[in-house]
Amino acid sequence: MAAKIIDPSRDQILRFCAVDPVERVFLEDVARRGQGRFVGLAADGELQALCHVGVNAVPSGVGCGAFAREVARVSPRMLIGEAHAVSELWDAVRPRLSRPREDRPGQPVFVIRGAPSEGGTGLRAAEADDLELLVPACAAAHEQEIGVDPLRRDPEGFRWRTRTQIDEGRSWLWVEDGVIRFKVEASAWTPSAVQLQQVWVDPAARRRGYGARGLRDLCRLLLGRVPAVCLFVRAENHPAIRLYETVGMEHVLDYRSVLL
């Protein structure tokens, strides 16, 4: 039976994501929230590919070129996801979208499943009182990852995002003497995996091993709740890649981002 484009059910999405819960952690998180706009490619009732279609298009699976029409209609500002899926989609949709501002192939995805050794830090979940300390650090980390200063672009919206991460229990930090020795947020969270973003150490506290110690303690904390902790990073961010390898994270696949 030929595969066809469908409006997928939540159950179909969750079965699809269960095949690779690390690669598909964002898609599963959105589906579990009961939100998001998805399009699927299905044969015999099972998804072989899925795409979240929004400001960012996030494809996954085989045959993602089939989503070109739906994605072109929305004109996303970024395609992001597993590299082959993004490439299939990008090849198909490229004639209908604007020239890309940037193409970031080969962004390594790292995962850890076994608890690393203790870091002996004061890592803790962020609280509402941490907001003022966290906002500039989160903004700096965001600018480092995305290349845009969110406090210039959308200060109120960024404060809301940072506060929401705290409220949802998705933000952790280690502070001593008012200096952030380590902080990080979860960008997606499912029963199978947590995806981290915006790993940050204040410049004044760098090169002392705080990042590795903080990440080890966070991985230990999270691996008590989920089987895998993952993140992805820009291919040229060698210090971050060394940090993740030091902690024991393994490079398991690549993402690709096409910024439009």
Partner: protein
């Protein structure tokens, strides 16, 4: 796209009778509404408008037609900017929907197959993206009250409130630059995934 003028449609028959009207095409403008739409055209007479954007609802298309009368401007329909789906409230009194909406969570769809405010926000973000991707440099976008309120607030970094705290006037333009629209689209989509109203936090 560089600049859009975003306005709610002019007064429609359904507004005058206080009826919730989601389904296309819906009713057209009242006489007062046609006057409001002409007034909108006069307000924008000196502005460059390279594209007209309406939804699938007749009241937005008539507003656009009247406001752009005499101008040779291409027009498109962006269904993602359509009115929120009121579910079983559609065709009934808008006040009944508002009473329901004022006490329910943002992520809860309206009963009877309707949309949640979160779903509508994600759709508006997608609609904005479609307008932003156009090659024209300016547009007049005629939408609906909820979309206008959500987009204008989000352009200032404000997430949605449970009820529209400030009324959205008919056929009054809001000038927004592309940078603001990108901010609005990002924020509305982000909020749609974590939908808690700003007045309930």
């Amino acid at each position: 796209m560089e600049t859009i003028f975003l306005a709610r449609h002019a007064l429609a028959v359904s507004n005058a009778s206080g009826v919730a009207s989601y389904a296309a095409p819906g009713e057209g403008l009242t006489e007062e509404g046609r006057w409001q739409a002409r007034n909108l055209g006069e307000i924008l007479a000196r502005e460059e408008i390279a594209l007209g954007v309406a939804t699938e609802l007749r009241r937005t298309q008539e507003t656009l037609e009247v406001a752009l009368e005499g101008r040779d401007v291409p027009r498109i329909v962006v269904s993602d900017l359509n009115e929120i789906h009121f579910g079983s409230f559609d065709g009934g009194l808008l006040s009944a929907y508002r009473e329901w909406a004022g006490s329910e969570a943002a992520g809860l769809p309206a009963p009877g197959g309707g949309e949640s405010r979160a779903q509508a926000a994600a759709r508006y973000a997608a609609g904005l993206q479609q307008v932003l991707a156009r090659t024209e440099t300016s547009a007049l976008v005629i939408g609906h009250a909820l979309a206008v309120r959500y987009i204008v607030d989000a352009a200032e970094g404000l997430i949605p409130a449970s009820l529209m705290l400030a009324p959205v006037g008919h056929a009054l333009p809001h000038r927004l630059e592309a940078r603001q629209l990108e901010v609005a689209a990002d924020l509305l989509e982000s909020w749609s995934l974590v939908p808690r109203f700003r007045d309930s936090e």
